[in-house]
């Protein structure tokens, strides 16, 4: 074959045109146009937040695309083409340095996000996400609105739940510590309330609890458990001061349940995805021993001792 300039330039352009027709035009011409069941347009403030999301490069660390094989945040719903038909540009992302955010809306209340954006280490001690406080309060609120809308109609349902329980939690908090603790414990199912921690306190267990506390709880509840961690100024109701729990009907079961399930409406997140059972007992007992100074570990009823107990 004789390679003339014509052959090289025109030939390769013609090939390109044919291939663009097939792998770009055809998928566009046959694109999905039906909205999925969760689709709704974004509000103006959400759109402003989305522009901030783009301008600050959140897309390089966060995907918005849940796969069939996912377990993490948002994995209750696999992505569909109809979820994206209003997105220009689409923000699928290519890396998960941070978690997928497709269904982030309503995972946390707004105050959690403001604290987290101000500095992610405030709510998540080991986070490597950049702080974006430089954006200023108004922008942080817009960004929060966008993030709270991720998941669209599904996020709206979760946000309704957050708002409902936020009101309840604030009412309880403002009624004073005694009423607050009563309310907190009344939300825990009866069976859990009467359940002591079935495992004995051990040095190893407390050491594990200490590490877990530092990695997961410190930013809110503070190094001494008084609720004065760096996130405190941003959160309302503020993180619980554990010392007020003494002699107020606290139990291993309540601690376990609250840590596992979180307290929707408050900044207290659930840890059931993050911590396995033993870790939840350990960090709960750490809080009980060091901060509440009252632990029911290894009291009756506790069933048969587990095989690893000393």
């Amino acid at each position: 074959m004789k390679m003339t300039p014509m052959a090289v330039v025109v030939g390769s352009l013609m090939l390109l045109a044919a291939i663009v027709f097939m792998v770009v035009y055809m998928p566009w011409a046959t694109r999905v146009e039906e909205p999925s069941e969760i689709l709704r347009p974004r509000s103006d403030v959400e759109a402003r937040g989305r522009a901030l999301y783009i301008a600050n490069g959140c897309v390089y660390c966060h995907s918005q695309s849940i796969r069939t094989i996912d377990w993490g945040l948002g994995a209750e719903r696999i992505a569909q083409a109809g979820d994206y038909i209003l997105d220009q540009p689409i923000l699928l992302g290519s890396a998960r340095t941070g978690p997928d955010l497709s269904q982030e809306g309503g995972e946390h209340p707004d105050d959690w996000h403001i604290a987290h954006f101000t500095n992610p280490r405030y709510t998540r001690t080991l986070s490597i996400m950049p702080a974006v406080a430089y954006l200023g309060q108004q922008n942080l609120e817009d960004l929060t609105a966008y993030v709270q809308g991720l998941g669209l109609k599904q996020a709206d349902r979760r946000m309704q739940r957050q708002r409902f329980w936020k009101q309840e939690a604030i009412r309880a908090y403002e009624a004073g510590p005694v009423a607050n603790v009563e309310w907190l414990h009344a939300t825990v199912p009866e069976g859990w309330r009467n359940l002591p921690n079935p495992y004995p306190t051990s040095e190893a267990g407390l050491a594990r609890g200490h590490k877990l506390y530092q990695d997961f709880c410190l930013g809110c509840h503070g190094p001494v458990g008084d609720g004065m961690g760096p996130a405190q100024p941003y959160l309302y109701p503020p993180p619980l001061n554990f010392t007020i729990l003494k002699d107020r009907g606290i139990s291993g079961g309540i601690l376990y349940y609250q840590i596992m399930n979180g307290i929707t409406g408050t900044a207290m997140p659930y840890f059931k995805k993050e911590l396995e059972s033993e870790k939840i007992w350990d960090v709960g007992n750490y809080v009980a021993v060091y901060f509440i100074n009252q632990s029911d570990a290894n009291t009756e009823p506790r069933g048969i001792d587990a095989a690893n107990e000393p």
């Binding site: 390679m3 352009l13 090939l15 792998v23 996912d70 038909i85 890396a95 500095n119 280490r121 406080a133």
Partner: protein
């Protein structure tokens, strides 16, 4: 590959300009990479300096590597070997110098606008519309200069390097315009899933239709030259060239295998990703057989040494890439540092190594004097080689840790502390590469200016 006395006395101003551009932006680009890597270890180091936030540093790093370092480096060599292969002078060095200046202006504009948060948010297509236009203009100017040089040639036969460079410049002009959706100046994007398909069609073609053919062009020039042996096979050149254009353009959707895009498109992208062995091996067999028995000559020339190492990296990155396009593999490797490792083998190990090789091959010939310091060039060679191999090792391990943990149901937050140590290694390796880039720039400048060497 004959040359004339007629071509010997050119000033090679355009080539010079592109070489300096490349060396300079390599320093800036690797600095940005190092800064980003450091932020992943110490996120509060630059706390509340908005324009240094990770999400803005990262696109600056990537765009500067692609369009500031690698592309100008490879073009610098092309502007040297075009006149020589075509036995003529470059069409217009004046136009060339204007192009180089405009190119640098474009890069400065890109850095400033991205740091200020003006981005369209699409990977590899971040730059806003006016800058997109500048990029297109620059490609048009480069094309005019090259194609006019071809037209005034005194050598009837077009050598394979010339095909590759002409095709790379034209096709990238086209795919860049398409991929940046330049008919939509504000958003620079389509809507929904088709936007992702177009973006990755273009994104993959940055490697496939720009870096790869430009790098292949340099390898096809430097290796036979350094070995003083004719090219192994014209047929393989043809096969490699046309199959590259046909196959590479089909595979962009392998970035979207886990996304709701049409299945037929995924199938095409997977099949063609595996079929990439055809253009890859056609090129590599051709180069490696040309060099057979002459590795001594390659070792002796620092430029050729860089280029040859780049071809080995090309082998690795392509075989790895074909594997990564298999859905079963991608279940583990997608979304994590494995992909970052692959990207660095491709862009720094393959295209970047060859860009540096082209640079060090042509610089002494442009200057008419030996390289200012062979030692510094060798030092840079080893730093980049250790850097790339090191990156690949640590980021692949980190990627496997992440990928397997996630498949096992662990949350992203839980895995962060596990990969911390690999981020530390990565930043240390990045520091080595950055230091060698600074020394490299010094070497380039001293070779061209204030070179104490004997003229030859």
């Amino acid at each position: 590959m004959t040359t004339d006395a007629h071509t010997a006395d050119q000033p090679y101003l355009t080539a010079k300009g592109f070489c300096i551009t490349s060396g300079l932006w390599l320093v800036v680009a690797t600095f940005m990479g190092l800064l980003g890597a450091t932020e992943l270890i110490a996120p509060d180091l630059t706390e509340n300096i908005g324009w240094l936030v990770f999400g803005r540093i990262r696109p600056i790093h990537v765009n500067l590597v692609l369009f500031g370092f690698v592309t100008p480096g490879l073009l610098g060599a092309a502007f040297y070997y075009f006149p020589r292969l075509l036995r003529t002078r470059i069409y217009s060095d004046k136009l060339g110098v204007v192009t180089v200046l405009l190119w640098n202006l474009t890069l400065v504009a890109a850095v400033v606008s991205l740091a200020a948060g003006h981005t369209q948010g699409r990977e590899y297509a971040e730059m806003i519309w006016p800058i997109d236009m500048l990029v297109v203009a620059v490609f048009v100017l480069v094309f005019i200069n090259l194609i006019m040089t071809v037209r005034q040639r005194r050598e009837p036969v077009l050598y394979v390097s010339v095909w590759y460079v002409c095709a790379a410049v034209v096709l990238t002009g086209a795919t860049f315009s398409l991929g940046n959706v330049i008919w939509q100046p504000t958003s620079g994007a389509l809507v929904g899933i088709p936007d992702a398909i177009l973006l990755w069609f273009y994104g993959h073609n940055v490697f496939g239709l720009l870096l790869t053919p430009l790098a292949a062009g340099v390898a096809y020039y430097v290796i036979p030259r350094a070995c003083q042996s004719p090219l192994y096979s014209h047929t393989l050149s043809l096969l490699g060239f046309w199959s590259l254009i046909v196959v590479y353009t089909h595979i962009g959707t392998h970035h979207l295998l886990q996304v709701p895009v049409p299945t037929w498109l995924k199938v095409i992208s997977i099949v063609d990703s595996v079929a990439m062995v055809i253009p890859v091996m056609a090129f590599l067999i051709n180069i490696w057989y040309t060099a057979r028995g002459r590795l001594g000559a390659i070792h002796a020339d620092i430029g050729a040494k860089f280029v040859f190492t780049g071809t080995i990296m090309y082998f690795f990155v392509s075989i790895q890439g074909s594997m990564m396009a298999l859905p079963q593999v991608q279940r583990v490797t997608h979304f994590n540092n494995w992909v970052v490792a692959h990207a660095h083998v491709g862009v720094l190990g393959f295209a970047g190594m060859i860009a540096l090789g082209g640079l060090y091959y042509v610089l002494p010939r442009i200057a008419g004097k030996p390289l200012y310091s062979r030692f510094l060039a060798d030092f840079q060679y080893w730093m980049v080689l250790i850097g790339v191999v090191g990156f690949t090792s640590v980021l692949t391990i980190a990627g496997l840790v992440q990928g397997h943990a996630w498949l096992n149901g662990e949350t992203v937050y839980r895995v962060i502390p596990q990969i911390h140590v690999y981020y530390v290694y990565r930043a240390a390796l990045g520091l080595m590469i950055f230091i060698s880039a600074v020394l490299g720039l010094y070497n380039i400048l001293r070779t061209l200016y204030f070179n104490p060497g004997e003229a030859r």
